[in-house]
């Protein structure tokens, strides 16, 4: 309807010319405000977040948290895009080269050292400090990202390995319901439990990150947590590591056939189906145990990884974090807002429950009732206590010193620890030969990149 007609109609219906003019003036005043509002909406800061947590339950839970954050914000929107660990090195570096990288990228410490070489990773100590002021980070979570006078990622969640075991299988073999305490007992139990088509312990020897992790956990327990000496040189070929590899190789006799091509799924599947009595893995064993095994939660045992008499408690610990890849101040500020929201204990509990038991809190108040009282974790209070406690004894190869040798990125990406294990178990080399070959490989990797200051 045209303006003239409207005015005519208004006048005809008894409205005065003044009223019409007042209305027009009000509209004229409102127009810039509406335009500004539209501009603000258009200029909403968008954060694109890449992560490699592919399982649908994790993606859904992350989305729940993102939806809550986006709903709470007028000027910021965070969108997740799911990637996978298999090709993230390639994808991330290619995206950075093309200038189309995400604003935020999930990471683990060795991935950060690799991506940092592109120059795209932004220091985030200001963001870490802002979160720490209210929620205090656990030191093992931040330490692997702190080098070269900066912090390169904000820790989000931890992961730690334990010895998982089937108490019902232990009982059936006459071993009671308690876990083995040291290496000798571990070997003895593994042997006794290997019978009638069932196997004592899952010892993987595939060229896979799982092998890196499992073997490194044993290395820690036998005094081998430092992959580099204090001067930054590779320090892998040590008597302790040779002894650890010999023990690992010995244990592999009680592992199911096919362990040399295992990835993540097999040990958990075998433990749940009762074909495997012990496995060393992270906390994802909790969630599906009852449903997949048909056994009550009490039959799933958890214990620290046994250590030799002269060794120490410990296991691999991954501090998963998020890197900021944008140098835009508005995006940095938006990231700060997002993290502030995320680390509120109740929200953080929702986030961690993307994978109950696997994702562990990295802040002191993250170990909250909201997290512990979730349906899955409430069934395994002892295991949850142990996971949290074990985090304090966690280490990550290459990140145990104040200085980081950037060669660790290649050592990890090429699964060099796993390659050493393969030499010993698949190729049947002696532990001495395999460890010596590993030392050479790692030295070559370390020499191919400039050491950090």
């Amino acid at each position: 309807m045209g303006t003239d007609q409207q005015m005519t109609k208004s006048l005809a219906t008894g409205h005065s010319r003044r009223r019409v003019l007042q209305g027009a003036a009000a509209l004229a005043m409102a127009a810039p405000m509406l335009r500004a509002a539209r501009t603000m909406a258009q200029e909403k800061v968008q954060l694109v977040l890449w992560h490699m947590e592919q399982p649908p339950n994790r993606v859904q839970q992350f989305q729940k948290v993102l939806d809550a954050f986006n709903a709470s914000q007028d000027g910021i929107e965070v969108k997740q895009q799911v990637q996978n660990w298999e090709d993230i090195y390639q994808k991330a570096t290619s995206a950075i080269q093309a200038g189309r990288q995400p604003d935020l990228l999930f990471t683990i410490p060795d991935f950060t050292t690799a991506i940092k070489q592109t120059g795209a990773v932004q220091p985030v100590e200001d963001l870490v400090d802002a979160i720490a002021a209210d929620h205090k980070f656990l030191e093992p979570a931040v330490q692997p990202y702190r080098y070269e006078d900066h912090t390169w990622a904000v820790p989000l969640y931890g992961m730690v390995q334990l010895l998982w075991y089937r108490k019902d299988m232990f009982e059936a073999a006459g071993l009671g319901r308690d876990a083995p305490k040291d290496w000798d007992q571990l070997r003895e139990y593994a042997e006794k439990l290997t019978a009638d088509g069932k196997f004592g312990i899952g010892i993987t020897s595939s060229k896979h990150l799982y092998t890196d992790q499992e073997f490194y956990s044993f290395m820690i327990t036998n005094g081998g947590k430092h992959l580099f000496a204090e001067d930054g040189k590779v320090d892998f070929d040590t008597p302790n590591n040779v002894k650890t590899l010999a023990f690992y190789k010995e244990l592999s006799k009680f592992s199911p056939p096919g362990s040399s091509s295992w990835t993540w799924a097999e040990p958990q599947a075998l433990l749940n189906t009762g074909q495997l009595a012990m496995a060393i893995e992270k906390g994802q064993f909790l969630g599906p145990f009852e449903e997949q095994s048909g056994r009550p939660a009490e039959d799933l045992g958890a214990a620290p990884i046994p250590w030799p008499p002269d060794g120490e408690r410990g296991s691999i610990y991954y501090s998963n974090g998020v890197m900021l890849l944008s140098d835009d101040q508005a995006k940095r500020d938006a990231t700060g807002e997002f993290l502030k929201f995320l680390f509120q204990p109740d929200t953080y509990a929702e986030f961690l429950l993307a994978e109950p038991g696997l994702f562990l809190p990295v802040t002191e108040d993250g170990d909250s009732p909201a997290w512990r009282q979730s349906p899955v974790l409430a069934k395994y209070p002892d295991a949850v206590d142990l996971l949290v406690e074990q985090s304090k004894y966690g280490y990550l190869f290459g990140f145990t010193r104040d200085k980081i040798n950037p060669g660790i990125g290649q050592i990890s990406a090429e699964n060099m620890l796993a390659q050493v294990v393969q030499m010993a178990i698949v190729q049947d080399q002696t532990p001495e030969e395999a460890v010596a070959a590993g030392q050479k490989m790692m030295e070559a990797a370390a020499a191919s990149v400039q050491p950090s200051s």
């Binding site: 090709d87 090195y89 390639q90 570096t93 290619s94 950075i96 080269q97 690799a114 991506i115 070489q117 592109t118 120059g119 795209a120 020897s205 595939s206 060229k207 896979h208 199911p256 056939p257 096919g258 362990s259 040399s260 091509s261 097999e266 599947a269 075998l270 189906t273 074909q275 990125g409 290649q410 990406a413 090429e414 699964n415 390659q419 393969q422 030499m423 698949v426 190729q427 990797a445 191919s448 990149v449």
Partner: protein
């Protein structure tokens, strides 16, 4: 109707367009988008790869310094590269041999009249159309040493007392992958051979039979020579494809165990994205491309293209 005036030596089309030069321009305009597309998608990346092979670039996206032929000297002398090259030869030619045997058997069978022939001809292609990731996952589980169906059968039939770790044992991994790849690709080859078989006139076989030629003689004297054009093309293209296969190997074994299945494409990927040595990876790519170029030239020059019913190709 208006008649077109044609000058001496002009084709009707040229006459319509005016002259020979404008006709050429017209043709170039038609092919220009394709040429541009090929330049962008093939020529430029290829040139860039060659350039990278002369640098020491590490991580993708970082700067690299020009180092001349250093990468080439180092790579050619590297035992890892040589071993991967030999594995690539085994993978391509060994796999090719298995595929040809299977494809011939299938094609000759499908060329016979039998009940269900049409069904078999249609569904034989199934393994070829299934996505690689599905094939990889399916075979990984089937070959699993603990709960895979293959090992269940092997142990229950008494073929082996203990399960065989097909993908985790160096001596088994490559043959296993070769067989899986052959299983995947032989139906495609079988259909090509079948198409070739159906162009051979039945009279040739009848005449040979009257002359007393047995099945073996007929196969080697009639079938094989007349299928030579098909085998020539598949021999060339199939080998080039096989050399470049990466996905199945990576998904099944990632080149392991202990590099037992690390062919050149796997080595290239591993070097570029796990070893953070893009310059070296580019060098291996260039060397592989050169080898395939030489192979193609030699193949085209020396392998007979065969005869068709109408004459020599």
């Amino acid at each position: 109707m208006q008649a077109t005036t044609r000058r001496a030596g002009q084709t009707p089309l040229e006459a319509i367009r005016g002259d020979r030069g404008s006709a050429a321009l017209f043709g170039y305009l038609f092919v220009a988008p394709l040429i541009l597309w090929l330049v962008i998608t093939i020529a430029l990346p290829l040139v860039y790869s060659v350039f990278l092979s002369f640098t020491d670039i590490g991580v993708v996206g970082t700067e690299g310094a020009f180092i001349g032929l250093d990468n080439y000297r180092r790579i050619v002398a590297e035992p890892e590269f040589r071993a991967a090259f030999v594995r690539s030869l085994v993978w391509a030619f060994g796999g090719g041999l298995v595929q040809i045997v299977l494809a011939f058997a299938a094609a000759l069978t499908l060329n016979q009249a039998f009940r269900g022939q049409r069904f078999a001809r249609t569904w034989i292609i199934l393994s070829w159309i299934v996505p690689t990731i599905v094939i990889a996952i399916m075979w990984r589980w089937m070959l699993n040493a603990t709960f895979g169906i293959v090992n269940y059968l092997i142990t229950h039939l008494g073929l082996s007392a203990v399960p065989i770790d097909f993908l985790g044992t160096p001596q088994w991994a490559m043959p296993t992958l070769v067989l899986i790849n052959a299983w995947r690709w032989f139906p495609f080859l079988a259909l090509l051979i079948l198409a070739g078989l159906q162009t051979i006139p039945e009279e040739y076989y009848q005449a040979a039979q009257i002359d007393g030629a047995g099945p073996v003689k007929r196969f080697f004297s009639i079938t094989l020579p007349l299928l030579q054009p098909v085998l020539y093309v598949t021999g060339l293209i199939g080998t080039l494809w096989a050399f470049n296969i990466f996905d199945l190997i990576w998904l099944m074994t990632q080149g392991g165990p202990v590099s037992a299945t690390e062919t050149l494409p796997v080595l290239i990927y591993d070097r570029a994205f796990n070893g953070f040595a893009l310059g070296e990876a580019s060098t291996i790519s260039v060397l592989l491309a050169l080898f395939l170029l030489i192979y193609s030239v030699v193949f085209i020059r020396f392998v007979p293209a065969g005869e068709t019913e109408g004459g020599v190709l």
